[in-house]
Amino acid sequence: MNTVYGSQELCTNVIGKQLCIGCGACIDLCPYFRSYKGKTSMLFPCTLQEGRCFSYCPKIEVDLDKLSQRLFGHLYDGNPLGHYISVSMSRAGESVGSGQFQAGGTVSAIMEYVLSRGYCDAVVVTDREKLLPIPRFVTQPEEIRTCSSSKYTAAPTLSAFHGAMKEGFKQIGIVGTPCQVLATAQIRSNPMDEKDFHDPTGLVVGLFCTWALDYRAFESYISTRIDKDGIEKIDIPPPPSEIMEIYMTGGDKVSIPLNEIRKLVPESCSYCIDMTSEFSDISVGVMEGRPEMNSLIVRTERGRRIIEEAQRDGYLIISDMPQENLEHLIWAAGNKKERALLKSTQENIVNTTQEDRLSYLRINRETLNQYSV
Amino acid sequence: MNASSLERDPYNIIITGVGGQGNVMASRILGSMLVGKGYYVTIGETFGPSQRGGSVMSHLRISRKSTWSPQIPAHRADLIASLEPAEAVRVMAQYGNPDVYILCNSRPIYPVTVTRGDEEYPSVADIKASLRSLASHTIFIDATEEAQKLGNTIFANIILLGAMYGTHLLPLEREDFVEAISQRFRKDQIEINLTAFDRGCELLHC
């Protein structure tokens, strides 16, 4: 049974221990936590013993059984891909207007669909200004297109989710990375035991993610090589490609080897056990070897229903995922989980029992045994 | 004692309050009234950062013989006239004695630490009762309320002056006040200040 604490504990145990990924779950709930260029800071001390900031954070006292039970109806079982109904391949269909997509354009298609059909009254996305990710919420389908390029740096996307809630939206869609999706799951679990609580989400779409980049480190690194204000788009093509491609205004393309880029990954990512956003309704990623397609994982009934209708209405084209790809996906996801669980247990931040030691994760023994941890 | 004698020489008065209450003006007016009657007056004041909502004290010595220290020695006040209850306590602790006469405005001015919620302002009832038990005479007047009736809380300092006159402890006549303010204020301000002075005196039943 985990307890909710406050901002001081959040600072000490997450920010102070390099666990913070800057997902935005604690940002803009109050004046005390704010984000600037990817870094989360506490501006002034808050004296409250319990707060939403702590309870929403995906890096402290995350009870995987509690979340899994609530969203999927069973305890956490350690499945590398998480709980799912189906895994397929997909891309945007003809009903989606033309525009700049990343890979297969599946995420943009889904979010345009839910806005136009009213499944969501607002959608939280991550926009970009030059290199800097900017969380936003949009209400019109055509606005989705403007935010559809991939961002590889960690962004406080959930701050826009809080913004949408403040504005009174009640069926909010969100596109997020695994950590952001996990935080969304925390929010949906009503951790502060509020009376008259209603799930504010309309649809949670998660992205695949092996690691993200620290914005400041990335900006600093890139600035020494190119004019960062001239960047149009960034892409990391799916494996076996090992480069980051940067498209400049004027048409130039700069390629940077991924092993250079990996040095800019924050410490926090190495603790993350989730490659496919396990707590979403739908998860979307790249397809190995197929740069024009997406991997599509459907997890929940509401996710399944929306995908079915989107497909019916020409927003998505879905086909079977080849077995080879599926196996490799499972292998990659399992690897990430194993590495992270090992590191976390070694550092004694899993299932802690001492009074003065808070846990990052609470996870059942069976799952830990599966990963020989 | 409206006569020309002093209970003690030097007679020591402390006028105190919070920065902005017109403490300094009150002590100057009183001082010039007494100089006009041939007394030696010494006034010591604390300026500077105390203006920004801090405690302000004016020490006023009246003497037939000479100038004295602008700071009254510890526990030697004869009359404490305060525009604020907590300031009366503060002054009493340093300058009070069992023979002192206290005249105090009852309206608190909350320090920033209190308005911000970090500290509690003490109970005014406690202050009243405690000062009564320690001093020889203690009178509380609602100078701020009376000043508001006259249109501006700043008149509280003149009301306090009137009340000080009303104690009959000072060698002064009403005419001395008229003289002092006619030199200090514009013609159109004299009437209202006289009214404030008289009101203060009335509060002491004179």
């Binding site: - | 100038t67 700071q71 907590a86 920033v112 308005t115 038990s133």
Partner: protein
């Protein structure tokens, strides 16, 4: 202030010490006065400005104290009587010129009024200006009461002309800001002509050029300068302001000066020791007249010296006593060195009572222990501290708010080097504790210039300095020049609140008027900084978003010195006082109070005195009597509960 102009000789007025000094100068026919605002001296120039027209006086708030002394000295060179006025720190600033001026000598009577602040009641250091008189070798006079503040000042002009050198008159807070009876003398006529005679031979004191020293001519010039001092000492032997009160042969002799004279007199009276203790009150404390000292030291063997702040008088008396030992015998000294008088802080009658009563073993009691315990217990529970904070509506609070937040968000451990003015509160929680160094005028930017060059030693944090508009002209400009030229990448924040606010809102070179109320060209701080070559931005500190953004831009800029001017008038300035920009109210229904999402940001952290926490209701409220309607709190309320409505 027309009472300072009262022509009736013999009339008695209640004057503040500073006013008495002014009256003394008027009675001496002083024509030019220059200074820089500094508590406890500021009222002097202000009083001169109020009678300037009637008395044919030129009064000026100079850019800094050094320039003030220079301006004043010009009047003296042209044969006019003149005064320069400053607090103790100002003497430090002017010291280089003072040293040279004392060497060149003066012509028209020149008086330097130095107002010290024992106890540092309005200063960030507890200094001592009397030592400068010894250092630059000029005579020093200290008035011992309010009447002397006038009379000694008048005499100082005459003395200056007799000696042909400037004379220092030293006051302290408890003299400058105390009031007492002053009997007036006559006012002379106001016609005087300035005439700078400089074409005579080199060392002609009346007609030659005015030169500190011809290089290598120490004997030719330093010698005569020292002779002037010896002459002063001879004159001081008969000075009527040096008085002795008490028995011919007291048990204890007190030697004292300045306000300590009043404390000592009171102490002796309260101890009823008038027949045991004598008081030698010295007005001429440098150079000490040796015969006078000898005669008084001869009265007794026990000497107590009572002075503020440093044992200047004590040490000089001991030197003389040592030299005179063959004649007068050995003496037992009490004072600061022996620990009878505290070595820091201002004095008062009780401190002197303690000293005397322990030396002569005289018991002294005022109140019973019961009474003392009772009042102290009452004060503990019923006299809450009135902490120092910015005024309601102060733009500095808003500036520091934005700077604090931007520095936290920036996350590179940036810090602020502070300076002198109301914004010194940046060292305290009311200023969000962002200021990490604090010294003298202009020093923040100089220190920042140094810090920002330490990157080669591994220190790579954003370095910020703050200073005010007056301070900018006073002292910070050379520091900024240094930073620009040496490519020190500091960010200098100039808090431009349109006046010299801390000391009472006096004008400065950036103001469109002078102390006499005349229109003057206002120097443009922005243009000056740009001309120096700094990268400059200007914002309104009440716009927190724009200020934060500008601040981020500048501290991320990298090379070169940057300047951010935060321009908004002081809440006590003529343009803002008594004028609300907004009516501000808090909607009780929306206010989140202590709950998650706010935790009473406005009262707990922001701390403007105009916002009050209602503990019972658990909400914040605006105190309409205190709020000045700047509207800033409405922009920082996380719930949007604070509403501001523009006042027509």
């Amino acid at each position: 202030m027309s009472y300072l102009n009262d022509k009736q000789e013999g009339s008695v007025h209640l004057l503040m010490g500073n006013e008495a000094i002014v009256r003394g100068a008027l009675e001496a026919g002083m024509r030019v006065a220059a200074g820089y605002p500094g508590t406890p001296s500021s009222e002097i120039i202000e009083a001169f400005s109020k009678v300037a027209r009637e008395r044919n006086i030129y009064a000026e708030w100079s850019t800094n104290e050094k320039v003030a002394v220079e301006v004043s000295s010009a009047a003296s060179f042209a044969g006019l009587r003149t005064m320069c006025v400053m607090k103790q720190n100002g003497v430090n600033v002017a010291s280089d010129f003072l040293l040279h001026l004392a060497s060149s000598g003066t012509r028209g009577g020149m008086v330097l009024v130095a107002c010290d602040d024992p106890g540092a009641l309005s200063s960030v250091n507890e200094g001592e200006s009397r030592i400068f008189a010894r250092l630059v070798e000029i005579p020093l006079l200290e008035p011992g009461d309010l009447q002397e503040a006038k009379d000694i000042t008048k005499r100082a002009f005459e003395l200056s002309e007799e000696l042909r050198n400037l004379v220092m008159v030293r006051s302290v807070t408890r003299m400058s800001h105390a009031s007492g009876n002053v009997t007036y003398g006559t006012l002379p006529d106001t016609t005087t002509q300035a005439d700078f005679k400089c074409n005579g031979p080199m060392f002609d004191p009346d007609n030659g050029p005015v030169i500190s020293m011809v290089v290598g001519a120490a004997e030719l010039q330093h010698g005569p300068q020292q002779e002037k001092l010896r002459k002063a000492a001879r004159l001081f032997e008969d000075c009527s302001f040096n008085t002795y009160t008490g028995p011919k042969s007291p048990e204890l002799l007190i030697i004292t000066s300045s306000a300590c004279n009043l404390y000592s007199r009171e102490a002796v009276k309260l101890l009823e020791a008038e027949d045991r203790v004598g008081i030698l009150k010295l007005a001429t404390t440098w150079p000490l007249p040796p015969n006078l000292i000898r005669n008084n030291l001869s009265r007794t063997d026990k000497i107590l010296i009572v002075e503020e702040v440093l044992p200047v008088l004590e040490e000089q008396v001991k030197i003389l006593a040592a030299e005179m030992t063959p004649e007068i015998g050995a003496k037992r000294f009490f004072g600061k060195n022996a620990g009878n008088i505290p070595s820091v802080g201002e004095l008062n009658p009780d401190i002197v009572i303690d000293a005397i009563s322990s030396i002569l073993d005289i018991p002294y009691k005022t109140i019973s222990k019961t009474f003392s315990d009772a009042v102290n217990a009452l004060a503990q529970r019923a006299a809450p501290n009135r902490g120092l904070t910015f005024c309601p509506g102060c733009p500095h609070r808003a500036s520091y708010w934005s700077i604090h937040n931007a520095l936290e968000l920036d996350g590179r451990k940036g810090f602020v080097c502070g300076d002198i003015g109301c914004y010194v509160f940046g060292t305290l929680p009311s200023g969000f504790s962002i200021v990490k160094t604090l010294h003298s005028m202009g020093s923040g930017t100089g220190i920042a210039s140094g810090f920002a060059k330490l990157k080669q030693f591994g220190m790579d944090q954003p370095v910020i300095s703050v200073c005010g508009d007056s301070t900018f002209f006073h002292a910070a400009m050379p520091a900024l020049t240094n930073a620009v030229h040496h490519k020190s990448p500091l960010t200098m924040v100039i808090l431009d609140n349109r006046g010299t606010a801390m000391t009472g809102f006096q004008p400065h070179p950036g103001s469109p008027n002078n102390v006499l109320g005349e229109e003057m060209p206002a120097l443009d701080i922005e243009a000056i900084c740009r001309a120096m070559g700094a990268l400059v931005e200007v914002q309104d500190p009440f716009d927190t978003e724009a200020t934060e953004k500008a601040f981020h831009r500048l501290i991320e800029h990298g090379e070169g010195a940057k300047v951010l001017i935060l321009r908004q008038a002081c809440a006590l300035s003529p343009e803002r006082r008594n004028k609300k920009n907004f009516e501000v109210k808090i909607d009780e229904e929306i206010c989140l109070g202590e709950s998650c999402g706010c935790n009473r940001l406005c009262t707990r952290i922001f701390g403007c005195p105009g916002i009050v926490w209602d503990k019972e209701k658990g909400i914040s409220k605006i105190d309409e009597l205190i709020c000045v309607g700047c509207g800033f709190c409405a922009d920082i309320c996380p719930a949007g509960a604070i509403k501001k409505k523009e006042v027509a």
